[in-house]
Amino acid sequence: MENRKVNAVIVGAGAGGGVVAKELSVAGMSVVLFEQGDWISYDDHTNDELLSQRTTVLGNSCGPDDKRYRRVNVHPDGSSHIVLPSEGDYNNNAACVGSGTVTYGALAWRFMKEDFRMKSVYGHVAGSTIEDWPISYEDLEPFYEKAEWELGVAGEDDKNPFAPPRKRPQPMPPFTHNKEASLLKDAAHRLGLHPFSIPMLRNSVPYNGRPACYRMRTCIGFACPVNAKSGTHNTVIPVALQTGNCELRTQCIVSEIIVNELGAITGVTYFDKDKRKKTQLADIVILSAAAIETARLLLNSKSKFFPKGIGNENDWVGRNLQGHDYPQAFGLFKDEIYDDFGPGSSIAVCDFNHHNPGIIGGGYLKNAFIRLPYGISKVRPPGEKLWGKEHKQFQRMNFKRIAEVHGPYQQIPNFEQRIEVDPAVKDFWGIPVARLSGKTHEEDIKGCKFMAEKAEMWLKEAGAVLTWSSLGISNGVNAGQHQAGTCRMGNDPKTSVTDKWGRVHSTPNLFVADGSLHVTNGGFNPALTIMALGFRIGEYIATEWNKGNRFK
């Protein structure tokens, strides 16, 4: 059966795509929302440390699966290998309705003003594509607010002197701290830092028909059994579906953007759950497949009009891939500090996000989410035994005496950390897979060292008798769950892929609305910014559409 043509097709039902689907369908537009994964809930995997979205040794609980998906990872020495989604080098986020927002830690950060003006603040950096965004914090502020109220955020930004200005407070009161976070809070005050309760896309009180969080040990990496976490799957996507204007097509993987004989974009081709190739026509196509897959889709859509892939006239699609480095420190305490009051991460400082002497950018620091038994089995001070009797005793003695402080360091973007499509390797559907190469900029090392030292200092002040740290920089592509940057927004079509509305420069009716747009990635987890961009782009498209603009 032929699919009926719709106003808009959205590829990917994650953070960006879910929000856009809601904005368009509420405004009366007909929408098909494609998701390659399934609609997953807590019961599918419960609290299994080895098969979650965080520790994925036995697979990703929320997709993609190891059977049908592949990527190629190129190492700095030029060698390359095929990687499975359960392996770290795949740089996975998730593949299900809601994507990472089902299982995320739910840290709900606004970027700071400086994060939108990195070049103006820090100047040119050799070997880097550091740049200002084409929009400012002020442009995005109303949409951060929308995201906070429509999805639901708890927080106390008024306690954070570095927080950017806001018109409305976060809708829910902040989370309280467990024992470890309380110790760190007092220590931060003693150090003259400015601690506050982390903003969370998680209910501290009942909100929008969903109950309050009851502080489980397992949260990050797991779906919430009571829906206390606010993802797109339990907020905006259900709203979109309720309008009757949005059809969600799960287990359907979009393979190409269709270009007609006149060079115009008319829809997408996809494989349904039985691997049948189908077509969905639409007036507008919006890519929200996350930074790696959105770039792959553009590059895989070659035609005589777009011989290098759509939007890739100047070789910018797939470039500037970013994630976050994760400088971290561990502290061993004399007494037990673990009180099993989850999910753990609740105290942060933004003292080191910007204006650090000799450092470009920086990042915030926080206490980590609760570490689970297998995770802790890999955490040992330098020189400690990694197996055997001592290892087991250490585990038993210290499982409840270890704290971790870490934070996302804002990567300095570079042109060579990138996505291409592999010339030979294909996935289950015969679609050429993403090929990841490059690595983080040299500058990052300095910044990560600085942050790791601060993390150790914080733990020591909190009473740790022994501390140790690592830079958290990978020796290769580092994008992962915070992947961003591959379809940079900009005013100059020669050095960017989309305009400030996420519209691909060379095509009037093709948009991007996901992490790919980020010019730089902030010293913060990216989801709330991606959602805010989704609200901004969605509102723009819907408003124009209802004024009669058909984006031709």
């Binding site: 080895l50 290998h81 499975l84 059994p225 297998y374 802790i376 089995s377 055997g388 038993r396």
Partner: protein, 184 residues
């Protein structure tokens, strides 16, 4: 296209092929009946000994009793199908090295001899040709990591029998969801 690419592609084909019942291709048909999915009975005995070295029994059960061998066996016939060849080769290399050095099987060595043997592997100091290209180091790291998963991971995958590690760490299990958190 360089050689690495070709190698990768070969590995891809291998991965695709092993997805489809390679267990049968790899298992040794001449062996007596094995109750395991992948291991031979002899390999499983060796695995038990290694698992106890990695997580020794003390006041709490060790790797063997907690089902580490069962966990790894189960995964090798599932998500870890890609490691089958490495295990077959590595376990054989361990027994061969023990044979040349001690004229004994690994599990027949004294406890301290076993420990010393594994420490050599860990440090990449095995001399026999079968360990070339740091296979001693990588194979030990693999077994160690998988053993930790078996002991400290969810019992649902065949290890951590009777929630032994959760009890040892004084974590409630099965995880109580909700009831213990709501104030009445």
């Amino acid at each position: 296209m360089n050689n690495q690419d070709n190698l990768s592609r070969r590995r891809f084909l291998q991965l695709t092929a092993t997805g489809l019942g390679s267990i049968y291709l790899l298992s040794q048909c001449s062996q007596p009946f094995s109750k395991w999915r992948f291991f031979t009975n002899a390999e499983a005995r060796l695995m038990d000994a290694i698992a106890d070295q990695i997580i020794p029994p003390d006041e709490w059960p060790g790797g063997r009793e907690s089902g580490v061998t069962n966990f790894i066996d189960k995964q090798l016939a599932g998500p870890y199908v890609r490691y089958q060849e490495e295990y077959r080769k590595g376990l054989l290399a361990i027994q061969n090295s023990c044979e040349t050095r001690f004229r004994k099987k690994f599990e027949e060595l004294k406890w301290d001899e076993q420990t010393a043997f594994l420490e050599l592997m860990e440090a990449g100091k095995m001399k026999e040709a079968s360990w070339k290209d740091e296979f001693d180091k990588t194979f030990f790291a693999l077994i160690r990591d998988h053993s930790m998963q078996g002991y400290y991971g969810s019992p649902r995958h065949g290890g951590n029998k009777n929630n032994v590690s959760y009890r040892m760490l004084q974590l409630d299990y099965p995880l109580i969801i909700g009831q213990n958190r709501y104030k009445s």
